[in-house]
């Protein structure tokens, strides 16, 4: 088997049993939620996107807790393989979560076009969160990333409020949500590609 596929499998094996059990349930829940939803709601996409991103971040948390970076360095892998596998894992997990509702749409809700919006919004949110978090995971690790993101997030919103730019920021998000499906998919892919290139550069030069 290809080494990158093996690495993805290793990441899956390192996840706690509970997370492995929950993953298919999460996929089924998303499938049902999306299939019977008549009108697209951004909050659902945010929820689904964030949950997807949290699932995908699990191997980073496990790796840090168990010093798996050393194991990765022992195995016949390069650093490029590791980064590539982490991003492919993200794509795979998203596919597992989002493909069933897409494929079963004709069966459950043939006339409900809202499913497409929810799926692409979920993809966009998950891509945004992952694009932001992964380079930080590679640079400073899972534990510190939480603290940094919280701090930066608070400072960012304080600046937005202080500079009275919050309405403009919300309008920007509204614009994103109202974008066409191909635009959202393209934007998500661009974010992930940029994040991948940044992570590659960071991890190549990192002292483990």
């Amino acid at each position: 088997m290809n080494r990158i596929a093996l690495f993805i499998l290793l990441g899956f094996r390192s996840m706690p049993v509970m997370a492995k059990i929950l993953m298919p349930f999460f996929s089924i829940a998303m499938m049902l939620m999306f299939s019977f939803e008549a009108s697209p709601k951004a909050s659902m996409a945010w929820f689904a996107g964030l949950m997807s991103a949290l699932f995908i971040a699990q191997p980073f948390a496990i790796a840090e807790k168990n010093r798996l970076e050393t194991l990765h360095a022992m195995l016949s892998l390069t650093r490029n393989d590791v980064v590539k596998a982490k991003y492919l894992c993200f794509i795979c997990v998203l596919a597992v979560i989002m493909l069933p509702p897409l494929l079963l749409k004709p069966v459950f809700s043939p006339n409900n076009e809202a499913v497409y919006f929810l799926i692409t919004d979920t993809f966009l949110v998950a891509s945004f969160v992952t694009a932001l978090l992964y380079p930080l995971f590679f640079k400073i690790g899972y534990g510190k990333t939480g603290a940094v993101i919280s701090l930066v997030g608070i400072i960012f919103f304080v600046i937005l409020i202080a500079s009275r730019s919050l309405p403009g920021f919300i309008a920007f998000f509204a614009l994103l949500i109202s974008a066409t499906l191909p635009v959202k998919i393209a934007l998500g892919l661009i974010l992930v590609c940029l994040s991948y290139m940044l992570s590659l550069k960071i991890y190549r030069n990192k002292d483990l």
């Binding site: 080494r3 094996r13 390192s14 050393t70 195995l75 390069t78 190549r204």
Partner: protein, 300 residues
Amino acid sequence: MNNILSLRGVTKRFPTFFPLKDLSLRFPDFTLEDVSFDLPEGFVMGLVGKNGAGKTTIIKSILNMLRLNDGSISVFGRDHLEAEREIKARIGVVMDYTFFVEDWTPDAVERAVAPFYPAWEKETYRKLLVKFSINPKKKIKELSRGMKMKLTTAVALSHGADLLILDEPTSGLDPVARDELLEILRDYMSGGNRSILFSTHITSDLEKIADYITFIDNGKIMASQPADDFLGKYFIVRGGLGILDEEQKKLLIGYREHSVGFDGLIERALLPRLPPSVVAEPGNLDETIIRLAGRRNGDE
């Protein structure tokens, strides 16, 4: 004689964390400086030095866990970066900590790592688990430190590795477990043209197994030569107080005076310059390293 491992001018700088001078929180910077040595095929090299001397930095450099500032490393005659995958498939590594998921069992470890090694030997792994009395169904977090080290060793020895890299594998082990580990390494060496790079600060372990000694102190290689040559170069001398003049005392490395006399280390070539009443015996590794490291740190 083929070199299985060669380091040439390897330099790794860890910059000062706080670059401001005279700041009380300033971390000392550390540099692995111009490190060069060769490990010939079929031999065991002991990498010795006190804690913080740079042993782990060398090992991490070989495993591409650190980005070098300068120099090159070749393993099995190939650049360690260009042929990283192929090289790592032929290396077994034991660190002084485990690097498996604590919730895994030894069975799960095998399922996780075996696919990465084309030459994984299931039978060897099973036999080693039995030999080490490791329950394959028991979670790693339930194993003692000694058992964890044995498990890591079992993995390192189960994929036909031609080079074993061991970083302080015996630290924290009791004498019986240390002896068992050394026995395993002897067995490994009897299996053909295999080599071991063995880093430790417990030098008594090395005296039993090492063919070559590389002594590192403060990031610099002080000596890298056959163990017999290294040990044969120095003598421990002892004698009564007042039998050495000041010039003779300066010849000794790690000169110490106590209530009944003195002791110190001296290079073999300088031995005739001491009075005949001095008792001289070949230095053991432990005492030689302690005195040499002490000299570097200006303890004399």
